[in-house]
Amino acid sequence: MAPAIETYNLTKTYGELIAVDRLSTKVEQGEIFGLLGPNGAGKTTVISMLSTILKPTDGSAKVNGFDIVSQPDDVRKSIGIVFQEPSVDDELTGLENLQLHSMWYGVPRDIRRGRIGEVLTLVGLEDRKNDLVKTYSGGMRRRLELGRGLVHRPKVLFLDEPTLGLDPQTRDQIWKYIANLAENEDMTIVLTTHYMEEAEELCDRVAIIDQGKIVVLDTVEALKRSIGGDFVCLRIAKPNTDAFTNLDYVKKAEISDDMLVLTVENASEHLQEILDIAGKADYIAIRPSSLNDVFLHFTGREIRDETGEGGVFQRIMRAEARR
């Protein structure tokens, strides 16, 4: 089966600035592929090039087998896109937005009504379809945009920060819709996000992208495994890393601010042994590794916008200090 998307040295520069730097990767059919990275990493630029909004400076890419530079119309017909910024028409009703979209994407007239009905049910806007979009909440607009991206049954759906700025409840709802789509509609989904939870929740594979380059690409599980496991943090009388470094399940041992911090494979299984060696501890914390730790591990920086705040140890310490 041919991949849904292939890129070859895809590059976009703005003068001196390299937004996307020789990106070469493949997205398989039917997967949910995540582009995870901080703001300004080049995620939106990648999506804009793949959806033919931007022309690459160099390199090329194929979407559904069509070249993004020489066959833009074929690419456009076979993709759906939900932009980062809301792009539904406020002055029209939800239904009208979907009807116009169907006309522009050439959805045949005889199946249009049925298709729009299905989509409205899927995103739960059936009873609000005749209201002007300006009366919708942020979450409803997002759902409408998601629905609009689906009306013409694209083979590949691009979602650019699909839950940016939404409250947690709405976000969960959107996640449910997206997961449901991938499962039941046989669609390839490429999403960008700077929320690690989002990538963890939804994506089959995640490419961590930083400064226009893919730093690492794998399944969420494999990425987490690649940094060694979970974190165990102990406050003991005389912290000493030597006793732990020869244990095969301890990948890393460090002392940070009088705390002993261990990176442990399957921490919950080995906790007793660790405690036996460590002796009496007056504080113990276990934290499963997250994609943020993966990002930190590969780039040396945090993915969140809080800069200069250090790593996981400091955060555990700060949480402790607040008690």
């Binding site: 119309d73 002055e91 979209h101």
Partner: protein, 248 residues
Amino acid sequence: MSSWEAIYGIWLREAKVFAREKSRIITSLFTPLLWIFGFGGGLGPNVSVKELNYQIFIYPGILAMSILFNSVFFGVYIVWDRKIDILKEILVAPISRTVIFVGKVLGGITDSMIQGTIMLLIGIVLGISFTAGATALVLLFLLVLAAGLVSVGLILGSVLTSPESFGSIVSFLVFPLFFFSGALFPLENLPPWLALITYIDPVTYGVDGIRGVLLGTSRFPLIVDFSALSLFTLTMIWVGTFAFKRMQ
């Protein structure tokens, strides 16, 4: 086939938005009415041009002006569409830029022609006699004028990124187009420099043609007016399709 559907879709969006913003019709009628009643109404009883009451004399010019302002300013909506990000949805759709341009032009023409029709009714109030033939000819002139000027507005809208800059550049353009079109004065006996400018102004041919049809007095034969106006409009449509092709 699907191109027609897409053009219809683009037009439909403009028409729906226009129909919902009724205040737009009222506010854009205000300036022409001010000219007819505030300016022409005052001068009319005292001044006559070519043996016509001045208010009646300027009516064709004000009719053309209402089309001029409305049509060129229509281009601002594409600037807004871009600013609030709804233009992207259309630009990324699998339709050609020509289709988008044509749909937008038709949308702008619709706005302007509704405006023009209301202005015709005001002409009846002024006592101008409209035969069926004259009405059809005037509407034809207004249509061609609107098509050309909407294209001008869209061309500007495709290159300008802020509504503010659009506003200032357009005022810079529409006021000279209006004042030098002979809307407020006859084209005869002008000093050569002014005559030259009026001949360059495409709106001149719209005003002159309509004046010929409605009042029976014009500088050029009707066919010359219509040909010059059509040439302008076709050129602008041609340029417009290019402008849209290179629009980001």
